[in-house]
Symmetry: C3
Subunit: 633 residues, 3 copies
């Protein structure tokens, strides 16, 4: 298929008389798509029931006349100020009980049914007006769910909704009390309306209580999104999209994605490196102007799966942003590299954010393709280069990956709730496994925990999956695919208690976890074959074969048939060693990549990306810093 470029544009921010010129320049720059509308509710409906469609009709006409395809956004992330007068209790409440006020964005509670109705109302009106417009070839619903930690709200609306959800799920408080183990500290409830939200308790609340609230909250995101999906489907056949963010694990993206046609995400490599990824100061300095070399790929692979094969980058960082603690400029070339890396991972479209840097408000220090004075910003030339290159390069198709990594949001809820070690985190663990695979140069697919067919893969990893779902459990037990599970996989019931015996419950595998240890950063469990475990170590026992041991003789990897259980969390070097061995066993070719280089194979080409701040050599070819190289396979 054809890969395309796009850009985010806010006609409401600029004089109407420059729109046509903006559109012409976009086309000239090689852009195919333009996203509009997602924060414009107040301009569309300045007072309740009073509409001003004219400007938006005009913007659609101007852009489509220029030949651009439009992604129309529903503006539900920014309800106007009058909405708060209508529903004063729609504002979210933080975990300290403070109302999160109007004055920025995402000031709504996913549990508030009144606001949910308003969101459906405006989506319907937009669908009615624009659903059949030929230029509008995709819709974006809302904007960046959970951004600014907005999934969890501790409002009255959330409390009442949670109580209803619990009543539906458990039917009686007796069942709930047993499921949660409320006997433990006399925490039993007599009626559902006694069950408060699990914040501000004297000490930690029952983890089963917290997990239930996390699941409830995730379900509200799904329901909020689905309500708009349902109404838009009445008016349009264009694909429906949401733009997810990076490292958000507070709602189940698999479930939201199931209702949509394409998964897109907002890729801010430099901001994310600084504000949400672990790393030593040295690593953060080395990749300061490039972003983490594996973070974009991880999210491309994740969202390609969430989108069931269809993935976009809806917002691509073009220069310094405004929201990270520090905001340096990308290395020249990165705005091109990021786009190509996205295409190599299957992105259909990469939209830069935004066309022209705003001179006003919160994001005035966020770069665009143009400066506020309309002069070209550095990324514009790189965008044009990508556009040229796209014309000459054969269509980029996805290749079958030999390795799969299971990623489970429910486990992220569980480990947030009960980390047991302060630095145990689902994303961090999965990303550690992913990084090790990337260092070996293999293509990776990310799988939902509902996966039931592993036959396309030679190796599957499932670290930290709290409770294997039955289809996956059966698939692991019944396939020839080498499966490396653990640490902490299948160690909990669905209600976050301990199954007896504890440990992976897979047919043909006799491994029990006798004891669990979390390790402070100063500590490590050394392995007889080299390297060590950090963060986490499980004392395994059972009749399964011992494949590796610690230096003190405890099992480090046990297994039977095609299944291997990892007893701890390997550090980066050790993870690479272990996965290299498993790839070899599974018959997967691996590479020894120079520092900072990453590769990705499509069905026809091998792409090589240089994230290092200096040139690196690949098979005799020198690739400059921020360089992209491709060669036919």
């Amino acid at each position: 298929m054809d890969r395309t470029l796009g850009v985010c544009y806010y006609p409401e921010h600029w004089p109407m008389d420059i729109w046509a010129d903006d559109a012409a320049q976009m086309v000239k720059a090689g852009l195919t798509w333009v996203r509009i509308g997602e924060f414009a509710w107040q301009r569309i409906e300045p007072a309740p029931g009073v509409f001003d469609w004219g400007w938006l009709d005009r913007a659609v006409e101007v852009l489509s006349q220029a030949g651009l395809k439009i992604v129309m956004g529903t503006p539900t992330a920014t309800p106007p100020r009058w909405m708060i007068d209508k529903y004063p209790d729609m504002l979210p409440v933080d975990d300290q009980g403070r109302i999160r006020k109007f004055g920025s964005r995402r000031h709504y509670d996913f549990s508030h049914l009144g606001y949910r109705g308003e969101a459906v109302r405006i989506a319907r009106l937009m669908g009615e007006r624009y659903g059949a417009h030929p230029a509008i070839q995709a819709w974006q619903i809302d904007n960046e769910y959970d951004c600014h930690d907005t999934t969890l709200s501790y409002s009255d609306a959330a409390r009442v909704g949670f109580q209803d959800w619990l009543a539906q799920r458990y039917q009686s408080t007796d069942v709930l009390n047993r499921a949660w183990g409320n006997v433990f500290w006399s925490m039993d409830y007599d009626s559902f309306d006694q069950i408060d939200l699990p914040n501000l308790t004297v000490t930690e609340p029952n983890p089963a209580h917290v997990l239930a609230f996390r699941r409830y909250s995730s379900d509200q995101v799904v329901a909020f999104n689905r309500a708009q999906v349902d109404v838009l489907r009445e008016f349009t056949k264009a694909p429906l999209i949401h733009n997810y963010m990076g490292r958000i694990t507070t709602f189940d993206h698999w479930a939201v994605g199931a209702d949509l046609d394409i998964a897109s995400w907002d890729s801010y490599p430099i901001g994310f490196l600084s504000d949400r990824l672990e790393g030593t100061p040295q690593e953060k300095q080395r990749f300061l102007r490039q972003g983490h070399p594996d973070n974009q790929a991880f999210h491309h692979d994740l969202y390609r799966a969430v989108g069931r094969g269809r993935m976009w980058v809806m917002e691509q960082q073009p220069g310094p942003v405004n929201w990270a603690p520090y905001n340096p400029a990308p290395l020249p070339g990165m705005a091109r590299l990021w786009a190509w890396e996205a295409f190599a991972h299957g992105a259909e479209t990469v939209c830069y954010f935004r066309w022209r840097q705003a001179a006003i408000a919160q994001e005035q220090m966020h770069a665009g393709l143009l400066r506020p004075d309309s002069a070209p910003a550095p990324a514009l030339a790189e965008c044009k280069q990508v556009a040229r290159e796209l014309r000459s390069l054969p269509a980029v198709g996805c290749a079958q990956a030999p390795v799969a990594l299971v990623f489970d949001y429910d486990s992220a809820f569980a480990w947030d709730t009960q980390p047991q070690g302060a630095d145990f985190d689902m994303f961090r663990l999965a990303f550690a496994a992913y990084r090790a695979l990337r260092k070996l140069g293999v293509n990776i697919d990310i799988l939902s925990p509902d996966a039931s067919d592993l036959s396309q893969y030679k190796l599957v990893l499932a670290p930290g999956i709290m409770h294997l779902r039955n289809p996956l459990r059966a698939a692991i037990a019944g396939s020839d695919t080498l499966a490396l599970i653990g640490p902490r996989t299948d160690t909990k019931t669905v209600e976050l208690s301990i199954p007896t015996p504890m440990g992976p419950n897979i047919d043909g595998l006799d491994v029990t976890i006798a004891l669990t240890e979390s390790l402070p950063p100063t500590d490590a469990i050394t392995l007889a074959q080299g390297g060590c475990f950090k963060h986490w170590f499980e004392h395994l026992e059972g009749t399964a074969q011992v494949f590796e041991t610690t230096t003190s003789g405890q099992p480090a990897i046990m297994g039977a048939k095609n299944i291997r259980v990892l007893a701890g969390w390997p550090d980066d070097t050790t993870y690479v060693r272990i996965l290299k061995d498993h790839c070899a066993e599974a018959g997967i070719t691996t590479h020894d990549l120079p520092e900072g280089l990453r590769i990705r194979d499509t069905d026809t080409h091998r792409f090589v990306f240089n994230y290092a701040p200096e040139a690196q050599v690949w098979n005799g070819t020198t690739i400059p810093a921020a360089g992209v190289h491709w060669e036919a396979l």
Copy 2:
């Protein structure tokens, strides 16, 4: 006397049909005691006035039939959910004004008289039912006062109670205004009901105001405990116990202990090392799986004194816990070492916590003697070993200690209120003195600030006692016991103002504090005889003799007769040097202990404990890591 082992058990968590087998296994493991009941209020009284005693009657029968002695706990740390409907204002409030909600434990306000009445009511009912049962040979009241910072509450109940307490203490606001020095910033009050709790003031409140609130709050713990003591005494002659925690200084344990028969405490060496003790990262890593080598001994000695000679460990860590930031497993052998160390310090009974690891709720990752699947956890074998050893070892009696250390909760309140240096803390100072003595291998007694007879001791330390009480003041002045006081001893009036002149006010001693300095961690005052003061330095003057000086010639130790005043807070090495000198002067034999070894003499034996993670040699005997050695004296 016979030293015994026990265990904590929650029959309500397990099917009734396994209780008998559990009891049989406990006896087989060498356990004498079993503690039950302390979180079971909801199971006893599932609705207000509706009782289900059957299961508890049965549990008592099963356990006693097996030959176990029972510690029965009053369940007042976990009032059921219906209690909150009855008394919505019984929930505690944190210092930021947030209600601390139901959903975990300790969700009650010590000041709430309605709830206090309920606690007495349930204690009475339990006393009536079980007070005469022959198997119930001890009672535990409530559980871990102050755990989760629950002594201080900023509720309306606390405010009203505090105002009454102030009215009782001062009789008139004129007296209070003068005592507190409210003239200072026009802070005078006209009536007691104007006096709010000392939180959320614009800048720091009057320290006298804070100290009064700390004393009031401590008094409420005493009163809450005493109310249950009083009612239980009507029904039982068995000893009454509370299980204190480690490093809790928010209420006066001497005062609570005065109403009870035995002081017990909950010893979690690994958790405490990580979450509440100072130490360098190197020290914390070295003792990661053993706990701090002096912390258990300190608390044994402290609580032996609080219990007026009778001390238990009510909860002994058996493996990884769930509540510290990181939760590694103990070194093999530590579950035995900790028990023996407790016995050597006079513990009558050591109860492991808990029998079987719970599969549910908050503490599901907290190890027990059994795993959730009923397989033995590592500590079980160590517990059995201790039981065997106890049978062969002569009864362990307490030896007279040559050194005493005064520990004062009122001073802890004072220095929390007015640290003057950010790291000045009563426990930290007393523990520094204690550690230095332990490195010298001497037995130590801890004394209440109400001590009035020092004649059994050759050396007494009284660091950081804000205001010496008259009996102790007289005892120091009138005895031959060498007394090392300071820093900061006797530097405040009882109302936390400065006496004139400032400095210890002891007959025959002329030492005045001319100036006080608190020192940041980067700074130190070096001493002419080697070493240095950290944290704190007082410029002493007066006619008393100068025993040591700083390198710039200021007094470091002054004194007269048997009294010495320490002008600063010695660092660890310096404290050892200074105390070695004082021990020599007092005629006390000291030892030069290998790193990680600690000794404790009973009346017949010397016990040697190896806290190091590697073997150490004591008098030619190699003691393995986590090893215990004893030899007849």
Copy 3:
């Protein structure tokens, strides 16, 4: 003019019968001034409308009879407890929405008009009673505005006042919406009463909204102060003073100062070093007992300008204080050095705080000239030495400084609101420039952003001025004074949006900022001529001359005519190098000062201060640690 010493005194804290002796001793110590009254409202008016003037009349008589001049303070920083009953809503509210309660000081909201009326009422009563008293030769209004972060309050009073202020400023919400760019995220308002305070929003509020609230809050301080000025002017011709604090940038001191006759400040060099200045641990340890060697000079120069030439130190630290995290004693000699440094910078009077250390309440650990037991504290002898030296030294006059530094509170509001890099701060940037100049040994004047005449200066620095005001813009463009502006100068409109083009808008200068980068501490932009930029870097372009480049060839300094634009924030060494070059170009003599020495020229003498903890040599003269040297020019 004659330089004088004074002291702060609280007769209400001490028995009346020692006042006369205190006064006699003050005079004997060489003190000329005594400040009284500023916290005594409750003693003056113990109940609403009930007055006790007697003690204050007596104090005034006793002190004046001894020959002392009196600074009378209005006691409005400490309203009595009964005031809170009258105006419960006068208490300030913090940014988390918590009421800041009575019990310390500064417990009032600047926006509360009821309390403002009370402040005027008590000022009027004091003016009536003492305005004509010959001994009362100065008045202090209130005490330390903003101390304990009291400028910003998020109360209802503030909200309503802010809405009125906005209505006055913008006249219509349409104008406001456009000025703030509220279209950005549908943040438009329909009426002024919809506009809430900019705290607790879901994510950051519109920076224009925050800046408006900062300006509003600053205006309330001005108005509160002016209300008292206006009433006191009716009764006295004595100069009116406020005592500012160090590094306070939450209100516009230029605007407050415009209504007053003298600017005074409270100089706590050791406390400020520890609690509010940046510095490495090594620097903080080196100057632990001296304070930062440039901080006092900066504030002397700043407040001399705020006072339009008239400056006092109203409170001079004499020994350890009570409020910093750690409170060590000054090096012997510092209490003298600080006083002389103040005089050399133009201070008319230096008052030590306080006469006798209080034995009570919050500041009982704050040293005075006397100890609580009335023995002399170390600073008393130093105070007497200064008094002797003042008698022999010719009057100290101010010399014309060759360099000026513009300091703008409005920019401090702006960069607090939108730092873009986490460590970008107006004071920090201005102080970096100041420090570099001080290392070069030049006299410095600080200028208001309203400055319009630069003709007395050879060099003017204007770093970080968000928006140059027109008179200064014109003065820079129209003078021969070498002007070094940037980084970040003139980069915003007055409403905190981006002007187009971005960059300094000065006639004859063509420099545009193409891109802005903030840099984490690990990063730096190296310069071809040596050194580097930290924190901040702007990509400059335009037709102006390039004077310096980075090592990668980008402009580091550009300029035209007398104007130079600095593209980044030089690190300390680099700033010295760059300013040395610019001083040379401007014909200003610079010095190469030994580490820790600082100089200041008066019209007749050169003063040399040794802040180092060891002796240093100046022109062959050895100056001991904490030493002061002067030589005729």
